[in-house]
Symmetry: C2
Subunit: 474 residues, 2 copies
């Protein structure tokens, strides 16, 4: 035990950790003060101090004559960020190259990782994955290390096809090509379907990785605003696709990164009908589709697709384990071209990873796992959101994500989030400037905070530091 820290601090951290990991879930009762004192060999006062500390952090609450209970994530009111405006004409993607420092900070344990949308170790069922992997290697011997060439292992494609039923998507293993994650899926699809100069519609704000891909492929883009609750502005999309020869539109219909919106079924249906009427393709990036904070998994956009208009991409990187490198794509009429490109550029996937994910999907427990981490992310987002609203300058607006684990923050006009991000990185805190999420480098007064890792004292202290710095540069 660390001699520098008082006992109650240690105990509070330990209990906080168990709450974050879902060992004690929302509404469940904590052990009584007396039994904690016995179990941990500390005084009753120490336990009371520790519980008090957890209460201060909003993690637990006392109920009269019943003891302490884990609080439900508190949703603090506050204004939501406002949509951007549409760009009138297609433009080449501009995006700053300086983000390497922020992305690479993910490997540095000394940096508080608000910058990259990386789920913390706490969501990864490491033991289960290791034991599945071990069983596969023992059963198959050296055959577990053969090439897994495009379209990927049949076991995985079958398991993904079954899994997609929960999103209302009927697919056969033949419809699926497995990839090294959703980014490879997007990269393959974009290369298969485009030529330089084609016009794409993207959301503003949108995941910066997509923008870098589009730039690299020489495509032109039009930005359509995102509403923090409803998703992409369909009226704006209607107007643009009536006016311009749009090749395709890339969207995250379910729990968009960074605004966290989930389109309603009606909106999803309307988007597919629009694609049909105006003859464009929709690339559905479903990376966060399984990460709703509550309730049933939303239908995928692909569910509403009757005429091969929607290309679906997915991955387990955000909801099972980033380092496995397992994703997939349903490339529709571009399936042969996607397979060809994959064979040329990145011919094979990590075989054991593919088999592990197939087993994980098949042998059950995945839905329970998703419920656990959905609740975890809900709590982490709510806590950071509350802390931000407390310490950031007047007029700060923060989204209320319905799924996923990132916060989109609108600062007062004139705020320069690129300067801010450089300053916070000096203080050991990474975050992503809003301009990185726009093909035209707009939304500089916004920023994204990832809440993928545990919301511990260090994280809350980091938010306080952010608040101070934000006041300084406002």
């Amino acid at each position: 035990m660390n001699a520098q820290q008082p006992l109650y601090h240690e105990l509070a951290e330990r209990m906080g950790d168990l709450i974050h990991k879902g060992t004690f879930s929302s509404g469940s009762r904590l052990p009584s003060v007396r039994s904690m004192s016995r179990e941990h060999g500390v005084s009753v006062t120490t336990v009371i101090e520790a519980y008090g500390r957890l209460e201060d952090r909003g993690l637990i609450e006392p109920r009269a004559r019943s003891g302490y209970f884990v609080s439900a994530p508190k949703v603090v009111n506050g204004e939501l960020p406002r949509p951007a405006r549409t760009t009138r004409s297609p433009v080449a993607v501009k995006c700053p190259d300086i983000f390497a420092a922020i992305v690479q900070a993910v490997a540095d344990p000394g940096i508080v990782p608000f910058g990259t949308a990386v789920p913390g170790d706490g969501i990864v069922p490491g033991k289960r994955i290791a034991s599945l992997s071990n069983a596969i290697c023992r059963r198959m011997g050296s055959a577990a290390y053969r090439y897994s060439m495009a379209p990927g292992r049949l076991e995985l494609r079958t398991a993904v096809a079954r899994r997609l039923l929960t999103a209302g998507v009927k697919a056969t293993p033949e419809d699926i090509v497995t990839t090294l994650g959703a980014t490879e899926a997007l990269a393959l699809v974009l290369r298969a379907m485009t030529r330089p100069g084609d016009v794409f519609v993207v959301e503003i704000p949108t995941y910066f990785g997509v923008l870098h891909l589009l730039k690299d492929l020489g495509l032109k883009v039009v930005e359509v605003p995102m509403n923090a609750q409803e998703g992409i502005d369909l009226d704006a999309l209607d107007e643009i696709t009536a006016r311009l020869p749009v090749k395709a539109c890339i969207v995250q219909p379910s729990y968009q990164n960074p605004v966290g919106s989930c389109m309603s079924d009606a909106s999803k249906r309307r988007l597919v009908e629009l694609a049909e009427a105006r003859d464009f393709t929709v690339v559905e990036d479903d990376l966060y589709g399984e990460l709703g904070h509550t309730g049933p998994r939303p239908k995928a956009l692909k569910h509403f697709d009757r005429h091969d208009r929607v290309i679906l991409c997915g991955s387990v990187s955000k909801c099972l384990a980033p380092g496995l490198r397992v994703g997939w794509v349903l490339p529709g009429k571009w399936t042969d071209e996607v397979k060809r490109l994959k064979t040329i550029h990145y011919p094979a996937n990590a075989t054991v990873s593919e088999l592990v994910v197939a087993e994980f999907f098949k042998t059950g427990g995945y839905d329970r796992h998703l419920r656990r981490i959905g609740a975890l992310f809900a709590r982490q987002c709510a806590q950071i959101r509350e802390a931000v609203l407390k310490v950031f300058p007047e007029g700060t607006r923060v989204n209320q994500p319905q799924g996923g684990f990132v916060l989109w923050i609108e600062m007062p006009p004139g705020f320069d989030s690129e300067v801010f991000a450089a300053k916070t990185l000096e203080k050991g805190i990474s975050l992503m400037p809003g301009s990185f999420f726009s093909a035209t480098c707009r939304m500089k007064h916004c920023l994204r905070l990832s809440c993928g890792t545990a919301c511990d004292e260090r994280a809350l202290k980091a938010v306080a530091t952010l608040g101070k710095l934000a006041h300084q540069i406002s």
Copy 2:
């Protein structure tokens, strides 16, 4: 035991398997007939029949009063394939798209896999890899499944840097970017250093994957002939680079696929000097560099590089396990651009795979492993070569690879290997037509046979079938 097969057949297969796997290596003594009979509970006659069968296959030989010994791989004389001619002017790459069927046949256990250069399960130390992987997962827990972002795990980059010392290459971990195999390494480097229309020099014949990449990137190529013993024709390269603005040259200096040649140190030095004098870059694909059949590992071309002219790519796919997906590149002055492209297109590698390979390199046994599989591939190549020379039409020429595991076969003029490959695939045997190894679809009268998998009765029977078909279409 299979009731259809006589006992001696079973026993011969089992012993042949142990020889193929290196349990009994060249020159080692087999158990006596008497002890075999006792051990396996079969009659002395059965053992004698089994040993006779192995003798017929050239695997073992009797020595007077000493018993049976494992034969050294027999090198049968025969003419070597002849080099092609140089193309005069840079041309766009043409390459047939029909190879998908052959590549995909690798996943079909019903097909004899002469078509793809895939090492058999026998070379993969599956148990060792599984146990390293298990230890890593237990030690690191969920942290073993974090993103491994470009430039890749430091542990692996350090281990690769140490490993490269055996090839005479001094590199630091900072010089190295890890990849998902050599193909990704090549894809990244080519994208980083070229613009459409740039002129590349390639070997003829060369690995078809490189040709597809060059085609996809819109590059122009000039083909320089390969000599089956000396490697690339440096006089021809001299003449071409004097005449044309060559951006770069892609070579496999050590155990080239498909001709199996290894350039001498003097030739390697001359190539680097030429690159210096004529201001072009050399991309060294060192995929087979560790797979020499005997003797010490050849120096890499990169060893002779003093002015950042050589970009080195490598991987463990052919010498440890294809399905791990671990490779690397030393991109020299293009390091930042390679990292940027990797971050955009395929941001992360399979973390456990990277750590397993790092451990394998570090904890020793890798050199012993390489000696074992080098001897194995030597035997497999020699046996298939002998069988081919026996049954193929008069005038067939076969290379004598010094490393790697593919045979390059020159058939009589006018032979159409594309027709041949289609016919053999119908009979359940894959092979690669020679035209696939040329940017101009030449060398149609040649073909490549991979000897990566065990040279068992099924393989020898397949060669006999190939011989018959070859006579029919000649």
